[in-house]
Symmetry: C2
Subunit: 271 residues, 2 copies
C-alpha cells in the first residue's frame, strides 16, 4: 500500500485507528474454544465487526508463534481474511543482519503479504535495508517505546545532548523516505511528540498505548498529526477484550466506533 492510498483510506473512514490483534487463547471468549481454530475465529469476528472503523490491523506475531505450527496457520488465515484495502502490520519487532532480515522480509511480505513489519533498530542500517527492497511495503522502526524499560537505552544522553531515540529517528531517514518508513512512537505527551515532529515531520507514526494503556488520543492527535494525518493509533485490549461474552464482537464494534468518532473530529482540521 502506498502512503497516498493509506491517506485516502483514512479520509474515507474518518479514522486512523489500528486494531491490535493480540489474540490470547486465555483471554478470548470461552465459547470460541470449541472451534477448530479459536484464534482465527476470534480474529474473523473482530475483523468483521471493526473493519468499517479501522484503517489497519496489527497482529502481534508472538501470540501466534507461541502456538507453533498451529499458531502460524491461524496467522496466515487471519492475514488472508483482512480486506485488501486495509493496511496490515506484522508486529514482529525483527532485526537481524542482511541475509537473515531478507528471510524475515520474505516470510512476512511474500509468504504472508503483510504491508509492513515492525523492526528493532539496534543492529543498524544493514538490518533494516533488506525490508525496504519490497515495493509498497513498509518498515515501522522502533524509535521511542512506551514501556517502562524503554528508557533504559532509548533515553540515554548522547555526547551532543540528544538522546539515542532521536538519533534513530534521524539516522534512519538516510535509508528510506517517508513513503516506506514509519516509526513506533509510544509518546503521548505533548513535549515528546513536538520534538519528534521536529525531527520527522512527514513520517507516519504508529502510536500504541492509547486507551487501555492510558494515553490521551486528544494529546496524540493535537501534537502528532501532520497534513497527511501521519498517525496510526493502535488499540488492542480496549477493543478486542472489551467484552468476553458471546456478544464480544458487537462490543468491540462499539468501542472501535467510539474511537473512530473522536478521530473524525480531529481529522476535520486537515481534511
Amino acid at each position: 500500500m502506498t502512503k497516498a492510498e493509506l491517506f485516502d483510506q483514512i479520509k474515507a473512514k474518518g479514522s486512523y485507528l489500528c486494531v491490535g490483534l493480540d489474540t490470547d487463547i486465555n483471554r478470548i471468549p470461552k465459547h470460541l474454544l470449541s472451534e477448530e481454530d479459536p484464534l482465527f475465529e476470534f480474529n474473523k469476528q473482530i475483523i468483521d465487526a471493526t473493519a468499517d472503523f479501522a484503517v489497519a490491523y496489527k497482529p502481534n506475531i508472538a501470540f501466534y508463534e507461541a502456538h507453533g505450527v498451529k499458531g502460524w496457520e491461524s496467522l496466515q488465515k487471519t492475514i488472508d481474511y483482512i480486506p485488501d484495502n486495509i493496511f496490515t502490520i506484522a508486529d514482529a519487532k525483527r532485526g537481524d543482519i542482511g541475509n537473515t532480515s531478507k528471510m524475515y522480509a520474505r516470510a512476512f511480505f511474500e509468504s504472508m503479504n503483510f504491508d509492513s513489519i515492525t523492526v528493532a533498530p539496534y543492529m543498524g542500517e544493514d538490518s533494516v535495508k533488506p525490508f525496504l527492497e519490497f515495493e509498497k511495503k513498509w518498515v515501522i522502526l522502533l524509535a521511542l517505546t512506551s514501556n517502562p524499560g524503554g528508557k533504559d537505552f532509548q533515553n540515554l544522553s548522547l555526547s551532543d545532548g540528544r538522546e539515542v531515540y532521536e538519533e534513530v529517528l534521524r539516522k534512519s531517514q538516510d535509508w528510506a523516505s517517508d513513503e516506506e518508513l514509519m516509526f513506533v512512537v509510544g509518546a503521548t505527551k505533548a513535549e515528546a511528540l513536538t520534538k519528534i515532529r521536529t525531527i520527522a515531520p512527514n513520517h507516519f507514526l504508529l502510536v500504541p498505548g492509547v486507551g487501555a494503556q492510558g494515553g490521551s488520543l486528544e494529546e496524540v492527535s493535537k501534537y502528532g498529526m501532520n497534513d497527511q494525518c501521519g498517525l496510526l493509533v493502535n488499540s488492542s485490549r480496549g477493543i478486542i477484550y472489551a467484552d468476553s461474552s458471546e456478544n464480544f464482537a458487537n462490543v468491540a464494534r462499539l468501542k472501535a466506533n467510539e474511537l473512530q468518532k473522536e478521530m473524525s473530529k480531529y481529522l476535520e482540521k486537515i481534511i
Copy 2:
C-alpha cells in the same frame, strides 16, 4: 542447562564451538531436495557429523520462519534431534514488552525446549526479564554486533564518554547474573574484547564471525577467554556449506574438527 554443565561439556570435548544452523534451502546440497523435509535432513546429517566437536547448535530462526508452517516443523524436528547434553540457541533476536516476550519465551523454551534465545536490548528491562523466569534457560543479549550497521547505534558516544553497547553490558547485569545471561559480542579485536571483559568478566560471550567472516579465533580466545572458558564461538557457513556435494557432512565434520583442535589448544591454559 546450567553454567557448570556447559563448562563440563566444554572440558569434555575440548571445544567451545557453536555450529550455526543457518539452513538455506538454496544452499544445501541438491541431492537433499528430493527428501520430504530437506531442511531437517540437512541438519540431521550436520548434527550427526559434528556433535563430537560442538558444544552448541544455533538455528537461525529466520531461515525456518521464511518457510512458514513447513519451516516451523523442520525447526521443531531439529531441536528434538539435537542431543540433550548439547546447548541450544534460538537465534531469534526477539525483544518486545512483557506479555509478548512471555509468549516468545514459551514458544522457544517450552514448546521447543531451547536452552537459550538471543534477545535485542532496545526495549530494555521489561522486554528481557520474561525470558529470565525460566529455570536453567538463558538470555543471550545483543551487545556489540559485527555487522557494518552495528556501529550506527551501538557505538554512539554517551555523555559520559562510554558507548551505548557498554551501557547494555553494564545495565543488564542488574537484571540477571552470569548464570542465566550471556552476551552476543561480534568483536574479534583485542582492544574491544579487553574492554568488554572489564565490564563483564564472568559472562559467557557468544562470538559470531570467526571463520568465513574473517575473525581470528586466536585473538578471540586470547582476549575473550576467562577461567570458565566464557566463550561460545560460532561458525555457520565455514562448516555447514564447506562442501555442497553428497560428501558435505564428512567435510563439515573435518572443518568442525579443525576448529575444535585449535580450541583445545587454547583451553589448555585454563583446564
